[in-house]
C-alpha cells in the first residue's frame, strides 16, 4: 500500500487496518438470552459483528478492538466482556 496525496483512501480500505491487536477484553456472545434484536451489530464501531444464524451473532476478532459497546448495549445482557488471554 502506498500513501496517497493528502492521505486519500478508497471506500473499504479500513479493512487493511486490523484493529484486533488493540483488544484487552473480548466480547463473549453467550447465545442464551439473545432476542435477535441486532443492536450489537448496528452499534459496533468497527462493523465487525456478523450474524451466523438466527439469534447467533459473533464478532470478527481480527477487527474487534474490545471497546465493549456491544456488551454495554445488549438489552438482555447476552454479551460479556472477558479479559483477553494471550
Amino acid at each position: 500500500m502506498k500513501i496517497t496525496l493528502g492521505g486519500v483512501a478508497a471506500p473499504g480500505s479500513s479493512r487493511l487496518n486490523k484493529t484486533g491487536g488493540w483488544r484487552v477484553f473480548y466480547p463473549e456472545f453467550l447465545h442464551i438470552r439473545c432476542t435477535d434484536c441486532g443492536l450489537c451489530q448496528k452499534l459496533c464501531p468497527e462493523g465487525c459483528i456478523f450474524k451466523a444464524d438466527k439469534k447467533n451473532f459473533y464478532a470478527d476478532l481480527e477487527y474487534c478492538k474490545g471497546c465493549g459497546i456491544c456488551a454495554e448495549e445488549c438489552p438482555v445482557h447476552d454479551i460479556e466482556m472477558r479479559p483477553e488471554v494471550r
Binding site: G6, G7, V8, S13
Partner: protein, 395 residues
Amino acid sequence: MDQVRKTVVLEGSRGVAEAVRLCRPNVIAAYPITPQTHIVENLSQMVADGLLKAENIRVESEHSAASAVLGASAAGARAYTATTSQGFLLMLEVLYNMAGLRLPVVLTAVNRGISAPLTIHNDIQDSLAARDTGFVQLYAEDNQEALDMHIQAFKIAEDHRVLLPVLIGMDGFILTHSFEPVSLPTQEEVDEFLPPYKPVFYLTPKAPLTMGTKTDPEFYTEARYMLHKAQQNARQVIVEVAQEFKEKFGRFSGDLIDTYLTEDAEIIFVSMGSLVSNLRAIAQELRQEGKKVGVLKIRAFRPFPFEEIVRAISGAKIVIVMEKDISLGATGVLAQEIRAAFYGKANVPRLSGFVVGLGGRDVTRETVLKGLRLAQESDHLCTFLDLNPELLEEV
C-alpha cells in the same frame, strides 16, 4: 469592466478583493475582523452585485470559515478566505489540516499583533504562528505586490508539484487601509495566466473516498515527508510563477527573495512586508551619503530560501535583521532563520537582530538609523529598538 488594463487608486483591501475576484474563486468564507474587514466586505458586495459568481458562506467564527473553505477545496472548488490576529489563531488547527490534506486554499493573513494585551495594530506575530503548518507563506511589500501575489498564489497553490495552501501576509492598516495607485489586470489576462483548478482527488458522492485517513506509525512519517517535499517543490514553482507573471503582466517584485542595492553593499538590512519599503528609502538616502547599504526582502518565508539568502548577502560586512515579531524567550523569528542559513558557511557576515514596530508602533527613519549605529558598534542577538524604559514597571 475588465476589458482594458487600468491604473486606479485603490485601498489596499479593495485591491486584494479585485485580485481575488479576477481569480474566479468558487467559494469564499470569512469572518470579519479588523483590519481584514474591508477585503471581505468588498468581496461580499461583489457577490451580491453579481460581479463575482461565488458561494459566499457566512460563518460564525474563523474556525468555521477555515473549515468551510477546507470542505469546499476538498470538493474541488477554488476557495479563498482572509483573517487576522486572534481570528488567525482560531483558524490554526484547521490550517494544519488544509496543508495535510493538500488543499490549495488561498488565505490573506492581514498582519496584526496578538493579545494580550489587546491590540488591533500591525505587526507580523500572528501569521508566523503558522510557521510549521505546511502553508506556503508569502509577504507583500506594497499594495501592488499584494494584488499581484494573490493571482500568483492560486497558481502556486494549485500546481500539482505543490498542492499546498498559500497564505499572503499583508500588513494591517499600513497596506490594507492605505490608498495607492495599482494596475488592475484584465479578466482575460488573468484567465490566461490562471486556468481553472484541476484537483487530483476531490469529494463527490459519485466516487466516495476518505481524505486524511487515520495513519499508524508505519505511514505517518512518510506522509509528513511528502508534505515537506511539496514545500521543497514550491521553491521552484514560486520562481517560475514570478517569471511567468513578469512576462504576462510586466511586473516583478521578487520571487523567493528580492534584493535592492545588495551587490556591493557592506551593510544589508533584511526584513519582510511593508517595512522593506522604508528600508529601501533609507538605503537610498545612505547611498547618497556614500555609504554602501542594501536591502534584502524575504518574500517567501515558507519555503525558506536558505541558499538564495546566503548568495545574496554573504558579501556584506554587517547584516541587520529588522522584524515586527519575536519568538519570546529566543530571538526574532526571522533572525533565527537567517542565522541558521549561515551555519557552516564561509564568509559569514556579522549579524544583528532588532525587534521593531510591535503592535503598530511606527518604525521611523530614526529607529532604523539607531539600529544601524548599534549594529556597527557590536552584534545584537535580539534587541528591542525604541523601548521606552519609563513605561516599564519594576517587579
